[in-house]
Every structure is written in structure tokens, then in C-alpha cells.
């Protein structure tokens, strides 16, 4: 359960041209690495509001926001997708949150809580204390009862679109078995036992887990674990009209059309270390496609000067035009998205490691990058850990893919010949999108050159992940893209490569099932030092590439976003993979 990339939906489609600005590309990478080398947990001081002022910021005014998709969910418990996550930063508050400084360096701090959490008992018990003077938008206090309610209602059946990490941890069960612990949620008067979740007073919350959960502060910062008001909980209806606690509240919301955010007078900046909230109002308009928002923001005329988009990216066909427009260049924010694309080799079918190595050497990854917009849309990958995730290691590239992005068919052929497998029949399921049509022929051609008998099967984009997710699918390999839920590889390695997860629809697309790896995953999951864990996760991901050769890294996703000339405080945020809505202000 995590951020699988909806087929092509978030991706630059098509192509682009023009000279690549290598300097700024390097900047992005440095920034991402600096940021994500390790996101530290902040103490009480770092968690104390108000947030540092953005240089030159002005208060007031209305910012227009252009968005492609309307928000399907407003109930925090149902929020998982990234555009709702961006909105959530303005209206909802959680126990923890990410604070980013003027350089984009991130710290995980307490949001409603006084700090990022006090672990004890080797990371099995986490204690949070609520700040003073924190209020809902109706002026009532946020208490530990609300926190308890927030987590207990996640066990109810109607909460089915949000993250499930904390429920699984509390129940200590995999899959959806956690619901058995509290089938009706808190609505029938049942509560989680104090041995799991305790609220000894109005300000204190204690989580107790069976195993150490060093990543709890990260998980709590997910928009899906933002607070829900117990008094105002309307169950299913909450999804359309939630009680909010952030600096803005929803004045009006017309599904598919527009949303207006106005100031929440009961939000006290002194309690919030992460949010600035300069404009008085946000006018959000939906159904604006990437082409349209790009065109309007590039033109930068009239009301478009006061416009921005939280999540729309520059459409690929316009990238060459943007590259030749120095004025518009000044109004761009670019950075990484958390997704990593990889060729998953079906380990149930391709059992000969030599064959997999031959695929790894032969597979050209550059056509994939070029089909999705070239170096500005994606970066060629050597490893499976994205630059936005702790533990990323620059330069890891066991099959020389970065030096030979077009593949080495000659080398692969030799391996196949030595293994006596020339003519190996390789069934490859590829996604039938314009991009798929553009990269797959070159991959097929090069693999054929290397001595494979490639059978290229197209899979419809709508059912792509369902089909490759079947355990007994008839494909030998397929491309999948995966993004970490928080900047730790603990949301990458276990869901993708833990052999005990294999079932229909699971994200272990390569059906990797290695005893050593499974044991190591169990061990590393218990490491409480995040820096050490990050290193170990990276080692495991490298083991997958180098020793198992079950997944061949292809690319890291990137994107460019534009904003109007009157918008200030624009900063790309690698955690949400979009610009940070909290720092925006309107130049008047």
C-alpha cells in the first residue's frame, strides 16, 4: 500500500527539447541530497512557533491556484494522493510536520505536538505532548481525546483510502487484519486499550508498539494522519465538510469546479513552526490541464500574475519553449518527485541469474528517459533509492547503465552465449501509452540484438498495474514505478522486495523472495538510529540490484512548476514532490 505511480498520470508525457541547463540540474541534485541525506528530528525548540519569516514576504491578498484534479477527499483519514497532500498542508494539522528553511533544508518537528516525539523502551513507546493554545477552526481546544479519536476512527470500515502504517503497527498485523481490533472504530464506545494507545491526560498521547518503530514521526507527518475533531466527526460526511485546524479553512467547495480558502482566525502562528500563511485567501480552480496552466503562467498576463499551481507541472511539449524564454525561466521551481522507475524481472519465470544479468547489461534506459521528457523530466538511475530518500548513494551503478544508457548488447550477448541461453524467449509486458510506444521498440530492438527472442505484449494503461500485480502473470518483465511514502527507504525496500509480501496486487512485482533479504529486512526494520537504518536499507537495495538482479533501476522522476510574477516565496519541496504552499505570498 503506497504511492504507486498512476499510469502516466503524474508523468511528463511526450517530449521536449532545447539545451539542458546542467548547472541547475546539478543544483537540484545537491539540494535534494543536502535535504534528504537525513531529515533530522527536531526538538522542542525547533518545534516552537512562529515559523521563520520568508524574506520580503507581504501579508494579505488573494492567490489564484490552478489545479488539474478536484479533491476527492478532504477527510484526513482518506488523504493519500499528492495533490490532496498539498492542500492538507494549508488546512489540516498533524502531530508532526516538516519544517523547511530558506535553503530548503528540512527538519521533522512537532506540529500540534511540542516536539517530534520522545521514544522510550528502544523505540517501542512514543510519547507526545500537545502544545498549548491549539484550537479547531470553531475555537474549541484540540485535546488528546481528538488525537485518540483520529487514530481509532482509522480502524472503521469507511476509512479505506488513507495510509495504514500506524494501524498495522498498533495491531501488529499485516494487511487489513488490523480492522478486527476495532471493527466499528470508536463509534460504538469501544476504544483501543491503553496498552496500545494511552491518553493519560488532556495533553499527553502515548503510542505503544510490539516492535521498535523508529519511523513513527515520519508516519505521523503524513497528511493521512492529520487530526480529526471528535465533536465534529460526521463519519462519511466528514469527507466533504471536515473540521480544520490549519491557518486556512474552507469557505466553499464546489466539487470539480472551485474551492475558496479563507483565514482561520483561531489558528495561532505562535503554535506553528512550519506554516507562514501570508495571503488572506486562496481561490482554487479545478479542471485546468497542464497545457493550459503552463500557457497561462508563461504568458503571465493580468490575473495570471497572481496565479500559481500547487501540483500542475509544465507540460512536456512546452519545455523547449520554456527553455528559450529567459523571463519565464525565472519563474520556475524544479525538483524531484519521489518515484523511481525500474524494470522488474519476474523471478518466478526468469530463474537463471545469467539471463537476468544479460538483460541488465542490454537494457537501454535512455529511451525511457527521452520518452518522458528527457533529462528535465527524469534522471537516469543507478540505484533503487531515490535522491529524495535517506540513504541515496550517488555513483552506484553495477551494470554501467549511466555510462551506457543505450545498453551494451554485445556484452549481454557474450553472457547469454556463455550461459547457453541465446534465443531466450523473453515476454515483456509494456504499458500501451504514447510513451510506451516510444521507448519499447528501442528496448526490444537492443534486447533482440543481445540474442533474446523478445515477445513484446502491450497492456492497457487502465489495467497495467492490476495485470503485472498478478502473481501468476505470464510476463517475464515489466516496468514499475514506486515512490517512498516518507523520505526513508523503509517504505521502499520492504514493500517492493520482501518475499513474504507476494500476493495478487502486492507491490513486489519482481516476486523477489530471498531468505537472506527477508531476514535482513526484519533486522533493519528494528534499527532505531535513522542514519544507520538508511545505510542498511541502501545496502539491501544494492543487494537487490547487484546480487539478485531482480530489478534494474531506470530513472528518478523530476518535474518543473511555474508561477506568476506576483507570487513570492516559491520553494520546491522534495518531501511532497511539489512546491511548498505554506510559504507563498503575494507581492503587492
Amino acid at each position: 500500500m503506497a504511492a504507486v505511480l498512476a499510469a502516466g498520470a503524474l508523468v511528463l508525457s511526450g517530449c521536449s527539447s532545447g539545451s539542458e541547463d546542467t548547472d541547475s540540474a546539478q543544483d537540484e541534485k545537491d539540494k535534494a541530497q543536502k535535504q534528504q541525506a537525513q531529515i533530522p528530528f527536531g526538538d522542542a525548540e525547533a518545534s516552537t512557533g512562529p515559523a521563520a519569516e520568508v524574506k520580503g514576504a507581504q501579508e494579505g491578498g488573494t492567490i489564484n491556484v490552478m489545479q488539474r484534479d478536484s479533491y476527492a477527499h478532504l477527510d484526513p483519514g482518506q488523504i493519500y494522493v499528492s495533490d490532496e497532500g498539498s492542500l492538507s498542508r494549508l488546512i489540516h494539522r498533524g502531530l508532526t510536520g516538516y519544517k523547511s528553511d530558506a535553503q530548503g533544508k528540512q527538519t521533522l518537528v512537532g506540529d500540534l505536538a511540542t516536539d517530534s516525539g520522545k521514544p522510550s523502551d528502544g523505540g517501542r513507546t512514543w510519547t507526545y505532548t500537545l502544545k498549548d493554545n491549539i484550537k479547531w477552526a470553531d475555537g474549541t481546544d484540540i485535546t488528546s481525546k481528538d488525537v485518540r479519536h483520529t487514530f481509532e476512527r482509522q480502524f472503521a470500515e469507511f476509512i479505506n483510502d488513507g495510509p495504514v502504517f500506524i494501524q498495522q503497527w498498533l495491531a501488529n498485523t499485516p494487511g487489513t487484519e488490523y480492522r478486527e481490533m476495532l471493527p466499528e472504530g470508536p463509534y460504538d464506545g469501544d476504544h483501543l486499550p491503553d496498552s496500545v494507545l494511552a491518553t493519560p491526560d488532556d495533553k499527553t498521547i502515548v503510542f505503544k508498539f510490539k516492535d521498535p518503530k523508529p519511523d513513527l514521526p515520519y508516519a505521523l507527518a503524513m497528511p493521512g494522519y492529520s487530526m480529526v475533531s471528535e465533536a465534529k466527526d460526521t463519519k462519511e460526511k466528514y469527507d466533504k465538510d471536515p473540521m480544520t485546524a490549519g491557518p486556512y479553512k474552507i469557505e466553499s467547495f464546489k466539487t470539480g469546479k472551485s474551492m475558496t480558502l479563507v483565514r482561520n482566525e483561531h489558528w495561532d502562528p505562535a503554535t506553528d513552526a512550519t506554516r507562514n500563511a501570508y495571503p488572506d485567501k486562496y481561490e482554487i480552480t479545478f479542471n485546468i490541464q497542464y497545457e493550459t496552466s503552463t500557457e497561462r503562467l508563461m504568458a503571465d498576463q493580468g490575473a495570471n500574475k497572481n496565479s500559481v499551481s500547487f501540483n500542475n507541472q509544465v507540460d512536456a511539449a512546452t519545455v523547449p519553449k520554456l527553455n528559450e524564454d529567459p523571463e519565464a525561466q525565472k519563474r520556475k521551481a524544479a525538483g524531484y518527485q519521489p518515484y523511481v522507475s525500474q524494470m522488474a524481472i519476474n523471478m518466478d519465470r526468469v530463474k537463471n541469474k545469467k539471463v537476468r544479468e544479460a538483460i541488465a547489461y542490454a537494457l537501454p534506459i535512455q529511451p525511457y528517459q527521452q520518452a518522458y521528457g528527457g533529462p528535465q523530466g527524469m534522471e537516469l538511475a543507478g540505484g533503487l533509492i531515490s535522491p529524495t530518500v535517506s540513504g541515496y548513494e550517488d555513483g552506484f551503478d553495477p551494470f554501467g547503465k549511466l555510462e551506457n544508457p543505450l545498453g551494451e548488447p554485445a556484452k549481454a550477448k557474450k553472457i547469454l552465449e556463455d550461459a547457453g541461453e541465446v534465443g531466450y524467449k523473453l515476454t515483456w509486458g509494456y504499458i500501451n501509452t504514447p510513451e510506451g510506444q516510444n521507448y519499447s521498440p528501442t528496448m526490444e530492438d537492443t534486447l533482440e540484438e543481445a540474442g533474446f527472442d523478445v515477445q513484446r505484449k502491450e497492456i492497457s494503461a487502465e489495467t497495467y498495474y492490476d495485470e503485472i500485480g498478478l502473481v501468476d502473470n505470464k510476463f517475464d518483465m515489466y516496468v514499475s514505478a514506486w515512490g517512498a511514502d516518507w523520505p526513508s527507504a523503509s517504505t521502499v525496500v520492504p514493500p517492493l522486495y520482501d518475499g513474504r509480501q507476494i500476493q495478487d496486487g502486492s507491490s513486489n512485482y519482481s516476486h523477489t523472495n530471498d531468505d537472506f533479504l527477508n531476514k535482513e529486512i526484519d533486522r533493519v526494520q528494528k534499527i532505531t538510529d535513522p542514519a544507520k537504518a538508511a545505510k542498511e536499507w541502501n545496502k539491501l537495495s544494492q543487494y537487490v540490484v547487484k546480487d539478485l538482479v531482480s530489478n534494474i533501476p531506470m530513472t528518478y522522476y523530476k518535474q518543473i512548476q511555474l508561477h506568476g510574477s506576483n507570487i513570492g516565496g516559491v520553494q520546491y519541496d522534495d518531501v511532497i514532490g511539489a512546491l511548498d504552499p505554506r510559504k507563498l505570498y503575494l507581492k503587492q
Partner: protein
Amino acid sequence: MTSPSEAAPTGSEPTTLEPVKAEGGDGQGTADHIGKSPGQLMWQRFKRDRAGVISAYVVGFFVLIAICAPLISKLYGKSPYTLYNSATGKPELFDPLGYPVKPNGGISGEFWFGLEPILGRDVFTLLIYSIRTSLAIAVAVTILTVGIGVLLGVAAGFTGGRTDTLIGRFTDLMLAFPSQLFFVAFMPVITTIFVAPEDATPTWLRVAVLIGVLAALGWMRMARIVRGVALAMREREFVEAAKVSGASNWRIIRKEMLPNLVTPILVQGTFELPLVVTSAAGLSFLGVGLVNPTPDWGLMFSRAADVSETVPTFMFFPGIAMVIFVVAFNLLGDSVRDAFDPKAAR
């Protein structure tokens, strides 16, 4: 009535004494035309239509290119299946974005029409092979639609009564099918039935399904037109006479009716063919027809539309070719109709 001026003989046509066939037109009643078959008359009129003759040459040129595509590409020394932007090709011709380094889409002495972005195929051979694929499919579909349409149309028109109603409603039903959606739904079914799950779908199967679906959903226009003409003809004297003389139905259809149906069939056929070319291209454009790397006009367009801002030349060549082809074929159709049936108002 044929106006004397329009039907005036050019003088170069040798007159024959072939007996006049059973024919519906009154045109041959004029003294000038005695001794000429309708075919000869048509030919005579056609030759005087300059637009028609030029269109015929253009269409002929396209057909020639389509037939000789392998020969041309052999002389030119390239194949549309060579992917130049790959380890075995010439990746130095492409920039990091996958676009040709040289201006104008990589047009050079070596690559006359430039190179395709990302896949890196030679546009010239790609275009002539695309024409070949599209024309072959269109000709096959047109032959099939004409065949089915004429058969059902004549059957409905000649038999009348219940058969007519049945075929008429069936025609209506088929007209209601959206061909694109039908194809989208149909292709996976065919794939599951005919192709092993481990094997790629062969191109011939895709082509066969494409032809089959386009023909199955394309014969209705022809059938309706033919039915109308046949219905009117059933009551004519020469058919009555044949009936009275004891000719079998089959003989009446074959000998009396079909010769008189040639005009609408030929005219409709020439309009049908460019329509098929564009609708097959439309299917591929939407990603449900043929797939890369099979050279195909529709695929070329869909690719060209993506990159039109950056590499306009890639749209230019197939676009111009398609415009010329469709215009020429339509003009040819017009001329053929005028030549056969000069009474028809423009």
C-alpha cells in the same frame, strides 16, 4: 438529359458497332453516340476532365510508391525498421532529449526527410512504408466493403419484402456501432483467443483484425446506396422483360442489374478508399490500431502531433502526403462520377 455540348464526341474515339447493352440512361438515344458503349462514353468524358486526369496520375503515383517501397528503400539504402537512436544505430545524431542534433528535424544528404525524434527512424523510408501499409489496408477494406455492401444491397433491393426489412434493420444496427470503441473492445478478445500469453501479437493478426473490423463496420453506406438503386431498377421494363422470359433471379442480378450498378459502386468505392485510409490512421492515432515500430500513417501523425512545436518537419512530410492523397482521391472520385453519370448535379 445529356446536353449535346457536354456529350459531343472528340472525334478521336473510334466508333464501334457493338450492340447497345441494356442500360438505364437515355443518353445513347442521341444520334452522335450510336455505336459507343457506356464504358467508352465514360472514358471519353473522363479524359476531358483535366482535374480528374491529374488526380488519377497522383493516385497512380501513390500506388506506385506503395508497391515499390521496398525497391525505393533498397536504392536509398535504409530501412524503416532501423532505430538510429540505439546502441546499434547512430546515437551521436541525437541530443540528450532524443531529438535530432541537426536542424529541421535532422534533414541531411543522408536522411532526406530527417529523423524521427526518440525512436530515431529514417522519416523518408518510414513515410513510403506507411503509405504502403495504409494503402494495402485501405484497398483490402474497400474491396471487402464493396463486396459485402453490394451483395446485401442487391439482395435487399431485389428481393424486397421481409428480406429487405431484415437486412435494412441489420444495416441500421451495424451503423450504430462506434468502430473505435468496437475495435478497442475487440482487439484484446482476439489476442486472448489467437495468441499464446507468452507471445507477442503478430503484426499480420493486427492488420487482419483491423481490416476485418473496418470492413464489418464499413459496408453499410454501400449497401444502402445499392439497395436504393436496385429497388428502383426492380420495377424497370428490362428487368420485367427478363422475368417474363423466365430468367432466374441470379441471372437477372448478374446480367441485368449489376452492369447498371457499376456507376454507384465505382463512385462510392472511390470515396470509400480515402475514408478508410483516414479512419485506419485515426485508430492508430488513438493507439488502438497498429503499434510501433510498424510503419503506419496514423502512428506517424500521432507522433508528429506530439513534437509539432519542436520538429515541425516531422508533421510536414506525412501531412502534405496525406492531404495530397485524400484530395486527389476525392477529386478522382468526383470525376469518375461525373464521367459515368453526367446528369448528377454537382
